[in-house]
C-alpha cells in the first residue's frame, strides 16, 4: 500500500539472501527499534513496560525453540529445564562469585547449551515420538537433580535470591530500567536468529528437517548439525532463564516446570513453525493471552460468576482457551499467526488491485 516492490533488481546471490531484501524492510525494522527503545519508555507506565519485559523474555526462548523445532525439526519438551539450568548457573555466578550480568548471561547460556547438547544425544539415534519422550525425561531428571542438589540450588526451597543487574554502577531496579536491559538482549537474539537461518548452518538445519536421510546423502553431517541445533537452541533457553532470574529476582526450579515447556511449544505452533516473525508473534500472543483473559473476566465475568471463585475460574479458563487455541491453529491454520500476517501483507501489497 505504502510502497511498491517494483524496480528492485537483484543481480547476485548475495543480494538475494540479504537480511532485508527490500529497503522498506530496513526502514520498518529501524522504525520498530526506535518505537520500542525510545517512544515506548516515554509514553508507557511501569505496568505496561513489565508486560513488554515478560513478552521480550519469552521472545528469546521462543526463537531458540523455533530454531530446534521449526528449522531443524527436532522436538524438545524439556526446554523449560534448560532455562532452569541457565537460571541456576547465573544465580550461582552472581551470588558466589559476584559476577556482573555480562558474564552471567553468556555463562548461563553456555551451561544450558552444554546440558542441551547432552540431552540432544538421543536425537542421534531416535526421532519423533522417542525424542519427545527422551526430552520429557530430561525435563524431569534436570528438575529432580536441581531440587536435590544443595550444591547447585542453595538449599531452602531450592531457590537462590538474585541480585539486581548492575550497569556501569547503576542498579537496575524498576521495570523501566530492566526494560533497557532486557530489550537489547531480545533485539540481539532476533538479529542473530535471522542471520543464523540464512547462513550455511541454517540451510543445513532446514535440510535435516525436511528429510534427514537425504540431507546426509548430500553431504551434511547430520549428527553434528543436530547437536549444534540442540546447543544453539538451549543456549537461547539458558539466556531466557537468566533473564527470567534477573526479572523475578529469584532462581527457582518451580518457575521452569513442564507447563512452561508446553507454553513455549505452543508459542512456536501458534506463531508459526520455522519463522522468526512467527516466534515473536507467538511469544507475544501467549504472554498477553492470560493478561487479557484476566482483565476480561474481572470486568465482564464478575456478572456471571461468584467473586470468590473468579481466580480459580480464570485459571481453568486459561487452560481451556490455551488448549483450544493450540488445537484450533493446528487444525485450521498450521502455519500459525505468521501465515495470517503474510495473508494480510499480500493483500495490501497489491491493493487496490486483486493481483
Amino acid at each position: 500500500m505504502f510502497h511498491r516492490e517494483s524496480g528492485y533488481f537483484k543481480t547476485s546471490y548475495k543480494a538475494d539472501m540479504a537480511l532485508y531484501p527490500l529497503p522498506i524492510g530496513k526502514v520498518a525494522a529501524t522504525g520498530f527499534v526506535l518505537l520500542f527503545l525510545v517512544v515506548a519508555p516515554i509514553f508507557l507506565d511501569e505496568y505496561y513496560l513489565s508486560v513488554i519485559n515478560i513478552a521480550a523474555i519469552a521472545v528469546v526462548g521462543a526463537l531458540g525453540l523455533n530454531i530446534l523445532l521449526g528449522y531443524t525439526g527436532q522436538i524438545s519438551i524439556g526446554h523449560a529445564a534448560f532455562m532452569s539450568v541457565g537460571a541456576y548457573t547465573a544465580a550461582n555466578f552472581a551470588v558466589h562469585f559476584d559476577m556482573p550480568f555480562w558474564v552471567t548471561l553468556p555463562a548461563g547460556g553456555l551451561m544450558a547449551a552444554a546440558i542441551g547438547t547432552l540431552v540432544g544425544l538421543p536425537s542421534l539415534r531416535v526421532k519423533g515420538l522417542y525424542l519427545a519422550i527422551a526430552t520429557l525425561a530430561a525435563q524431569f531428571i534436570i528438575e529432580w537433580v536441581l531440587n536435590h542438589t544443595p550444591l547447585i540450588s542453595g538449599g531452602v526451597q531450592a531457590s537462590i535470591e538474585m541480585p539486581r543487574p548492575v550497569f556501569f554502577g547503576n542498579v537496575l531496579n524498576t521495570q523501566s530500567e530492566l526494560y533497557f536491559f532486557i530489550l537489547p538482549v531480545t533485539i540481539i537474539a532476533i538479529i542473530a536468529t535471522m542471520n543464523l537461518v540464512r547462513s550455511r548452518i541454517g540451510r543445513a538445519f532446514v535440510a535435516i528437517r525436511d528429510q534427514d536421510i537425504a540431507a546426509e546423502i548430500i553431504g551434511i553431517n547430520v549428527y553434528r548439525y543436530k547437536l549444534l541445533a540442540f546447543a544453539i537452541s538451549s543456549f537461547y533457553a539458558g539466556v531466557t532463564g537468566v533473564l527470567y532470574t534477573y526479572y523475578f529476582g529469584i532462581a527457582n526450579y518451580e518457575a521452569f516446570q513442564l507447563p512452561i515447556s508446553i507454553d513455549y511449544l505452543a508459542m512456536c505452533i501458534i506463531g508459526g513453525l520455522g519463522s522468526v516473525l512467527g516466534s515473536i508473534f507467538g511469544a507475544v500472543f501467549i504472554t498477553l493471552m492470560p493478561i487479557v483473559l484476566r482483565i476480561f473476566m474481572e470486568t465482564v465475568g464478575v456478572f456471571f460468576i461468584d467473586g470468590n471463585y473468579i481466580a480459580q475460574v480464570i485459571a481453568q479458563m486459561r487452560l481451556i482457551l490455551f488448549g483450544g487455541l493450540i488445537i484450533f491453529f493446528l487444525v485450521v491454520e498450521p502455519d500459525g499467526l505468521n501465515k495470517l500476517w503474510q495473508n494480510i501483507r499480500n493483500y495490501f501489497r497489491v491493493w487496490p488491485f486483486s493481483y
Binding site: L69, G73, I75, P122, R125, V126, G128, L129, Y130, A132, I133, A134, L136, A137, A138, F140, I141, W144, N147, H148, Q211, I213, A214, I262, L265, A266, I269, L273, Q312, V313, A315, Q316, M317, R318, L319, I320, L321, F322, G323, G324, L325, I326, I327, L330, V331, P334
Partner: protein, 296 residues
C-alpha cells in the same frame, strides 16, 4: 524382616505396574492402529473418573448408573474427537499430533474442575478397605482389583487383536493405511473404533485409579507414567505393556523403599525415566517392539 519388606515392595510394585499398564494400553492401542501419539491418555482417565464421581455426587446417580454415563460420555466424546481434531491431522508431522493432544489435555484439565468442581472426590467401589494379608504378602484390595482388571482386559484385548475379524483388520490398518484401503477395509471407521476403545480403557483406568487415590486433576499425572511403560515394553506390543508396566511399578516401589530415605524422597517420579533413557540408548524400540526401517 528385611526380606519381608522386599517382598512387600515387589508385590505392591507389580500390582501398581499392572494398573499403570491399564493406562498405557490405551496409548498403545491408538499408536498401533492410527499412528497418532496421545499425550492426553492420563487426562482421558482423569476426565472419565471426574464424570463418574461428579454424576454420583452432583446428581445422586448410583455407581453403575454413573459408570454407564461415563462410558457413554467417553465413547461419544472420543468419536467426536477423532472426527474433528485427529482426522485433519493424519499425515502431519509428529510434533503436530503431539501438540494437538497436549492441547486436548490442557482443555480437559480446565474443563473437568470447571464443570464438576475442583475438590477431590471419591469413587466408592464396593470392595473392602482393610488390607489382605496372606503369608508374606500384604496388599490392599483396590490394588488387587486394579491388577486383576488390568490382566483381564489385556487378555480380552489380546484375543481381540489376534483372533477377531475386527482386530485383524485393525492390525492391517496399523501396518499400512493404503494397503488396507485397497483390501476394502474402511480405514476411517477403524480409527474411530480405536479411539473409542481407548476411551473405554481410560474409563477402566480412571475408575481403578480414581478409587485408589481419589479423583481430581492430580489423576492426570498418570499420563506421565505411560511413557516409561510404553518405551520399555515397545510401542506396539500388548505383552510389552504388561512387562513394561510391571518393571516400572517394581522399580518405582524399590527406589521409593530403598533410595528415598537417603536422598529425601521423590525418586519415585524419577527412576522410571532414568531407566527409560537407558533403554532408549540401547534398544530404542523397546523390549518387544519391532525396529523401524526408514526409507526415503
Amino acid at each position: 524382616m528385611e526380606f519381608q519388606f522386599f517382598i512387600e515392595l515387589v508385590t505392591n510394585g507389580v500390582l501398581t505396574g499392572l494398573m499403570y499398564a491399564l493406562v498405557a494400553v490405551g496409548f498403545v492401542l491408538i499408536y498401533k492402529s492410527t499412528d497418532a501419539i496421545n499425550f492426553a491418555q492420563g487426562e482421558f482417565c482423569m476426565i472419565a473418573a471426574i464424570v463418574v464421581a461428579g454424576f454420583m455426587k452432583l446428581y445422586g446417580f448410583p455407581l453403575w448408573g454413573a459408570i454407564a454415563v461415563g462410558l457413554l460420555f467417553m465413547l461419544l466424546f472420543n468419536w467426536g474427537l477423532e472426527r474433528v481434531v485427529l482426522r485433519p491431522m493424519i499425515g502431519r508431522p509428529v510434533v503436530a499430533i503431539i501438540m494437538a493432544t497436549i492441547g486436548l489435555a490442557l482443555i480437559f484439565r480446565g474443563l473437568g474442575p470447571l464443570v464438576f468442581g475442583a475438590e477431590t472426590q471419591p469413587i466408592p467401589l464396593p470392595i473392602p478397605d482393610q488390607p489382605i494379608i496372606w503369608g508374606p504378602f500384604f496388599v490392599s484390595p483396590i490394588d488387587l482389583l486394579g491388577g486383576g482388571i488390568s490382566l483381564a482386559f489385556m487378555a480380552v484385548f489380546g484375543w481381540f487383536f489376534m483372533k477377531s475379524r475386527k482386530g485383524v483388520a485393525m492390525r492391517a490398518v496399523a501396518d499400512s493405511h493404503q494397503v488396507s484401503m485397497a483390501m476394502g477395509i474402511n480405514v476411517e471407521r477403524y480409527f474411530v473404533l480405536a479411539w473409542m476403545l481407548a476411551g473405554f480403557v481410560a474409563l477402566l483406568g480412571g475408575l481403578v485409579w480414581g478409587s485408589a487415590i481419589g479423583v481430581d486433576t492430580q489423576l492426570a499425572q498418570l499420563g506421565l507414567k505411560v511413557f516409561p511403560v510404553v518405551i520399555l515394553g515397545g510401542l506396539d506390543s500388548i505383552l510389552g505393556v504388561i512387562v513394561g508396566g510391571i518393571i516400572v511399578g517394581v522399580v518405582e516401589a524399590i527406589s521409593a523403599g530403598y533410595v528415598d530415605p537417603y536422598v529425601g524422597g521423590g525418586t519415585k517420579d524419577f527412576t522410571p525415566y532414568v531407566l527409560m533413557i537407558i533403554v532408549l540408548m540401547i534398544r530404542p524400540y523397546g523390549i518387544f517392539g519391532k525396529p523401524i526401517i526408514e526409507r526415503i
